[in-house]
């Protein structure tokens, strides 16, 4: 994967959204897949009458297999797209930058880069019972750059991510400061 890194820059951490965020997308797909079959079995076992005539739904097993496989194929493609979208959304903390990669859809990808020493504020937000239980939430990072705020939603262990960024910021900050002069004990001679 090509990233806008300097030759001496290294990727320290890569963070992704919590697995529950992916599950929330996949479970409805599973239900939508099962629903037509349940509906078919229910219709087949029930008797409906219309104008005094009993209606019966009889699909051949071959047609059921063909239609069911076609339905499964389309839902499988949707599920694969959801997994790809989940995996390609990432935050990377390098030695100098914070990189926010957001895959909006298969043909829309946004990469934002911010210098870690320009980060001014990091806010984490954990909303809801499940988010609190499973330790995931949103991180808002305020920077002094053009892209003022980075937001990562549904990220796993947001406190750990915040600590990682702040730790790296401290490292950068102390690296550039001159070491204190050991001979100075305090006070200035007149």
């Amino acid at each position: 994967m090509q990233l806008p890194l300097k030759p001496t820059e290294v990727i320290l951490f890569t963070f992704r959204k919590h697995w529950f965020v992916l599950l929330v997308e996949l479970v409805p797909l599973s239900l939508v897949f099962v629903l037509p079959f349940v509906f078919y079995v229910w219709i087949e076992q029930s008797e409906f009458s219309f104008n005094g005539q009993i209606l019966a739904l009889n699909l051949s097993p071959d047609l059921l297999l063909f239609a069911g496989s076609l339905w499964a194929l389309f839902l499988w493609m949707k599920a694969a797209a959801s997994v790809t979208h989940y995996y390609l959304d990432a935050w990377m903390v390098t030695s100098d930058h914070l990189i926010d990669i957001e895959q909006f859809n298969l043909f829309h990808r946004q990469t934002s880069v911010s210098r870690i020493d320009r980060i001014q504020d990091i806010t984490i937000e954990t909303l809801g019972f499940i988010a609190t239980l499973l330790h995931f939430g949103d991180i808002h990072v305020q920077t002094a750059g053009t892209e003022r705020e980075f937001v990562m939603r549904g990220i796993a262990n947001p406190k750990y991510v915040r600590e990682a960024i702040l730790r790296q910021q401290d490292t950068l900050f102390h690296k550039d400061r001159p070491a204190p002069d050991q001979g100075v004990t305090g006070g200035v001679e007149a």
Binding site: M1, D62, L65, L70, A80, V83, Y87, I101, Q103
Partner: protein, 76 residues
């Protein structure tokens, strides 16, 4: 079994079945190429990409074989 879609124009049910099958396969193929492009370009770990590819191929093969069997049975 012949189905009349327009006056004077009838198509056999097996033609419709295989057309639908072919269309679904083409769509799936294009979609797979797009996914492969994204995974090879943006996935940073090769091991994750290989595992994901294996799972994708296995499940896709299962579904497509069901589709093919259904089409074969309907087309006969």
């Amino acid at each position: 079994m012949k189905l009349s879609i327009l006056p004077g124009l009838s198509v056999s049910s097996s033609t419709i079945t295989w057309s639908v099958f072919g269309g679904a396969l083409v769509l799936f193929g294009v979609f797979t190429l797009i996914l492969l492009y994204h995974w090879t370009r943006y996935a940073e770990k090769k091991s994750v990409f290989i595992i994901a590819l294996m799972v994708y191929v296995a499940i896709s093969a299962f579904i497509i074989s069901g589709l093919m069997i259904g089409a074969l049975m309907l087309g006969v």
